[in-house]
């Protein structure tokens, strides 16, 4: 798993040039999930400068490059690319898993979305939080409501995810 904080669009080059890692063997299966995963954050200075269309353009380039890498390194193998916006960490995340993954590795419900929708959510939410902050209510033991820490309501969370198959044979 790699993290990067974007100051300018040029910072994305490092992602494009990173080689694919499908070396999962023996005890490394768990690591397959994190071998090709990237988490992109926006620096405060870049929030107003990075446009949605630039990010979509980058991701399309990335898909093209990853398809090429797979064709070269693993010509007979398909791979599943999926991207989502992590609203808690304010990160655009994406991952590539070998094979045609039917059931994505999330604990919540998943809704298939377009790349544009994911990027829009990432840029606008990050921008809003940077500008307006995150509304929080702090409770301390001195507070009357401290004892009333009822368990959080298990709300049904649905995550928007973009999914595509790279090097698809059919």
């Amino acid at each position: 798993m790699y993290f990067i904080t974007l100051n300018t669009l040029d910072d994305l080059d490092v992602i494009i040039h990173e080689p694919l890692h499908f070396d999962g063997h023996a005890s490394e299966v768990e690591d397959l999930l994190y071998q090709n995963m990237w988490c992109i954050m926006l620096a405060e200075s870049s929030v107003q400068q990075i446009a949605e269309k630039d990010m979509v353009f980058f991701l399309n380039n990335l898909l093209h490059e990853r398809s090429r890498q797979i064709k070269c390194q693993y010509p007979m193998m398909e791979a599943t690319f999926y991207a989502w916006f992590d609203s808690q960490a304010l990160q655009l995340r994406f991952d590539i898993l070998p094979g045609h993954v039917i059931d994505l590795p999330f604990k919540c419900a998943v809704r298939i979305a377009t790349l544009q929708a994911i990027v829009h959510n990432f840029i606008t939410t990050t921008g809003n939080v940077m500008c307006s902050g995150n509304t929080m209510e702090i409770i301390t033991p001195e507070n009357d409501t401290w004892e009333n820490d009822a368990d959080e309501k298990e709300e049904f969370f649905v995550l928007d995810v973009y999914v595509t198959i790279l090097n698809k044979h059919r």
């Binding site: 990173e18 063997h25 299966v29 992590d86 995340r93 898993l97 070998p98 045609h100 919540c108 995550l159």
Partner: protein, 354 residues
């Protein structure tokens, strides 16, 4: 009528044993010992199927090492009609073999027992690994032929793992999903029957007077073997259940399965402990409650998406706001990553209600 008259060479009846000459008396003794050997050891010697630890098995979320799978886990199987579906493991059989076959298929290495059956599409049949040779094609998922690049036999005593499924009776191994037969009594029975018939042919031709006694001994041994095997399977099922119950991850290499209650329990235990020791709580509109650990001063919240083994998001307090620092597992361990640029992103304190 006299069977096995003296003075004749009976070596031709037992070509596979490579004897130059066998006399009638010796053949009788040999047959008796062979019968005893078969009846006593048939269940363990024939069941030489399975894969070495570390072999990848396709599961709905990707791959898992074969040794990490247990009963009730779902894995992917081939339906032979151009589709892949999931099926449930009924039990995992672990045993030792003396010889391992190492297959290289499209750059991927798979180590398996020599009796393990693989599907050969050109012959439309299952063939044991011992008969696979370089250049042959195996079936990969979804329904494509994959050429074997090299085959190596290694004489090495090794533990192998074989899976039995409730339906479809095959599963997919290796990076490219080679279709392999599941481990089952059908295979055992068929191989055993073939061995038994070969033996019976030779035996009856040799001396029918000893046949009833040997058949009785062999039959008793076979029944004993089956009971032995059944006990082994029950033990294995219990072991798998126990492994499942205790959430034994020591062997590593397993993505978290959100459907398993064991993780929920771990998740709840950690959260419960965190709630008890927290010195501050926060409620946010966007992602629910956060709890501050008084020792580390880090804030923890549930990971809503829960990608992979991530269960929590962890933030640190900065002068300007809460800054996400890492994702954590159900046990509260950091999921390590590598920073490729400047780190950190703060959530400003603007409009924060204290």
């Amino acid at each position: 009528m006299r069977f096995l008259p003296a003075g004749r060479n009976y070596a031709k009846f037992l070509p596979k044993f490579g004897f130059q000459s066998i006399e009638a008396k010796n053949l009788r003794i040999f047959i008796l010992f062979y019968a005893l050997f078969l009846s006593l050891f048939l269940p363990t010697t024939v069941a030489g199927e399975g894969f070495a630890a570390g072999t990848l098995v396709r599961i709905p979320t990707g791959y898992m090492c074969i040794q990490d799978l247990c009963a009730t886990d779902e894995i992917l199987v081939c339906t032979f009609d151009d589709s892949i579906v999931s099926a449930e493991i009924t039990h995992v059989t672990i045993h030792e073999v003396d010889t391992i076959v190492r297959l290289e298929v499209e750059g991927d290495i798979v180590e398996l027992a020599e009796d393990q059956l693989l599907f050969v599409p050109l012959q439309r049949t299952w063939i044991p690994a011992s008969q696979i040779h370089e250049g042959m094609y195996l079936l990969g998922a979804p329904l494509r032929a994959m050429q074997v690049q090299s085959v190596e036999r290694i004489d090495q005593r090794l533990q192998v793992y074989a899976l039995t499924l409730n339906e479809h009776h095959n599963y997919l191994v290796g990076k490219y999903g080679i279709v392999v037969h599941n481990f089952g009594s059908m295979v055992f029975g068929a191989v055993g029957a073939a061995e038994g018939l070969t033996f019976l042919n030779v035996f009856l031709a040799a001396n029918p007077l000893v046949a009833p006694m040997t058949i009785a001994v062999g039959g008793a041994g076979l029944i004993g073997g089956l009971i032995w095997k059944a006990i082994g399977e029950i033990k294995e099922s219990k072991k798998s259940y126990k492994k499942d119950k205790n959430n034994d991850k020591s062997s590593g290499g397993q993505p978290e399965d959100p459907k398993k209650p064991k993780n929920d329990n771990q998740d709840k235990d950690f959260l419960k402990s965190l709630k008890l020791r927290s010195d501050k709580r926060a409620r946010t509109n966007r992602f629910g409650n956060l709890y501050r650990d008084p020792k580390t001063k880090l804030w923890w919240s549930k990971d809503l998406a829960g990608h992979g083994k991530s269960c929590y998001k962890v933030f640190k307090e900065t002068a300007r706001g809460l800054e996400w620092i890492f994702d954590a597992t159900a046990e509260g361990l950091e999921i390590m990553g590598k920073h490729k640029g400047p780190t950190g992103l703060f959530i400003p304190y603007k409009e924060v209600i204290f």
